[in-house]
């Protein structure tokens, strides 16, 4: 079940999606972390961030909106307080990072460089919630490439760039980022959405808009993975609405080298392992010895 994400080899293609699995320890009672391919931690900024004012979440048909606003404890507290727990496990740890300026991205990357226990960086150039945040980088090929280049220069770790779906042509951005040295691409982040309380005539989220995630967006994520995997030469990690092994298999077949499980963790905290076990069963039933022989085998 081993797959390679750039120079990083992980034991299987099932990861957690950033922001949906805390720092790993929250899932201790439900998931044996050692069985996962990788844990992607909640997005880290240089300094701690309080996040947005509540209400921050709202349910939608087969999905949810969130406007957490990238609340996090900051990269220093992560290394000091959260990483030790993860280091007790053999699971690969991917640090999801974001900044409001190029310089911030670079400084977080530098801070994490050489820190034992961090196996790769995932740069979030796509979070739609914070106005000064990722959106500016992720929506334009040039900006996306620049942040990739700078982070690459600041770290020895493999760099995964996480793309936003809120764009006209995601493949164009993927190629631009790949050209700038990205070791892998993950997609998609949440789609900007909104919900209104018709009784009070106010938005359900204090932030007005938020990011849509969950099964509702799966067809969009899968299409974008397909659009990107066809043209990219680096590995693509599929994210968006994956809830079952069958969902994950759709992404693998369409060309994703690995998958991340996000919102599904909220519905079923064991979702990652259920997906993993389902993929294993599928491979056994079809006598596919190596998951790499399944990846990208969509017949058209």
């Amino acid at each position: 079940m081993k797959v390679k994400i750039g120079s990083l080899e992980i034991k299987n293609p099932v990861m957690t999606a950033s922001g949906t699995f805390g720092y790993g320890e929250e899932f201790e009672p439900y998931v044996d972390l050692d069985r996962l391919g990788a844990v992607v931690v909640k997005g880290l900024s240089l300094e701690p961030r309080p996040g947005n004012e509540p209400p921050r979440i709202m349910e939608t048909p087969a999905g949810m909106l969130n406007a957490v606003g990238l609340e996090n404890i900051g990269v220093k507290a992560f290394v000091a307080d959260k990483l030790p727990y993860l280091r007790w496990h053999s699971v690969a740890v991917i640090a999801n990072i974001f900044g409001e300026t190029l310089d911030e991205y670079v400084r977080i990357a530098e801070h994490l460089n050489g820190v034992a226990g961090v196996d790769a960086l995932e740069i979030n150039i796509s979070c739609p919630n914070v106005k000064k945040g990722g959106i500016a980088f992720g929506a334009h090929p040039g900006d996306a490439a620049e942040v990739t280049r700078c982070v690459k220069a600041a770290t020895d770790l493999p760099v995964i760039v996480k793309l936003t779906p809120n764009v006209t042509d995601i493949a164009e951005i993927a190629l631009s980022v790949e050209g700038a040295g990205a070791d892998a691409l993950s997609l998609i982040n949440t789609i900007r959405g909104m919900s209104v309380d018709v009784e009070k005539r106010v938005p359900h989220l204090k932030n007005i808009t938020g990011g849509l995630s969950g099964p509702a967006i799966k067809p969009v994520a899968l299409r974008m993975v397909w659009d990107v995997a066809r043209v990219a030469s680096v590995p693509v990690i599929g994210v968006g609405g994956i809830t079952t092994a069958s969902d994950a298999l759709e992404f693998l077949i369409a060309g994703a080298t690995a998958v991340q499980i996000g919102t599904a963790n909220f519905i079923n905290p064991r979702a990652t392992l259920d997906v993993l076990e389902g993929i294993e069963r599928y491979l056994v039933e079809r006598e596919i010895g190596d998951v790499n022989d399944l990846i990208g085998t969509l017949a058209i």
Binding site: G19, F27, Y30, G51, P54, P61, N66, V68, P269
Partner: protein, 280 residues
Amino acid sequence: MCDKAMESNRAVIVGIIRSNHPMTRDVFLMTVTVPHGFESAMPGQFVMVRVRGREFPFLPRPFSIHSLYREGEASTMEILYQVVGDGTRLLSSLGSGDELTILGPLGKGFDTRYDRRTVALIAGGIGIAPLHFLAQYYNKKNVHGEEKPRLVCFMGARTADGLIGRERMEQLCDAVMVSTDDGREGYCGMVTDCFVDNSKTMDTADLILYCCGPYEMMKRVALMAGDYSVPCQVSMEARMACGIGACLGCSVKMKSDGRPVRYGRVCKDGPVFDSKMIDW
């Protein structure tokens, strides 16, 4: 204190509904058989509930544990809930034998380590849900030999109809004061005013407040508690996704006293907070 007991019991379990009856027009009492091991739950803790095999509603719904007792090999949990939307409407349509997927017990319950001679439970409407379990706990505590404080319950509701489970509380508490907005039953006015009127005779130095109800009501109680320096524990509500501290969706603003803004997670840092911690 209850953190450790909780940790070891957290799991996704299947609960089998035994009964599910309307108490009033829109409040239902559900009895659920849950596996052994659940009894370590503390008052104020909650569960995340989905109807097994149903895709809708998408997210699980949080409910306080209303009561919990061991029965042979299994445990029986009660949930007292008000029908306010699609999720609770679906719950109300279920019957004996139907199954729930339950995550829990979750969160930090009421801190019961205060050594006070009078315990006031202040409930607004459906806020009685977790306080009933707390009252049961104090009664059980007594059995175990510790000295039982005087339990006084203040129950408020819009109308007499909304004073849910009053009889049960009367069995568990030394006194139950009720109030209704229309005054048809008990004190006429808000439960907070009823409490103020009655608290005059209480020794604030030997009092602790446990409160659950609408935000504005809890805020009033918290402010009063602050004024009189009475410890006060409130059970907060927020929309939740994960229930286990991972999504950061259920935030409540904490008092920061000049330091940067800070949010607590209702599901993990709460749902019960010391009222002084909340930025009301």
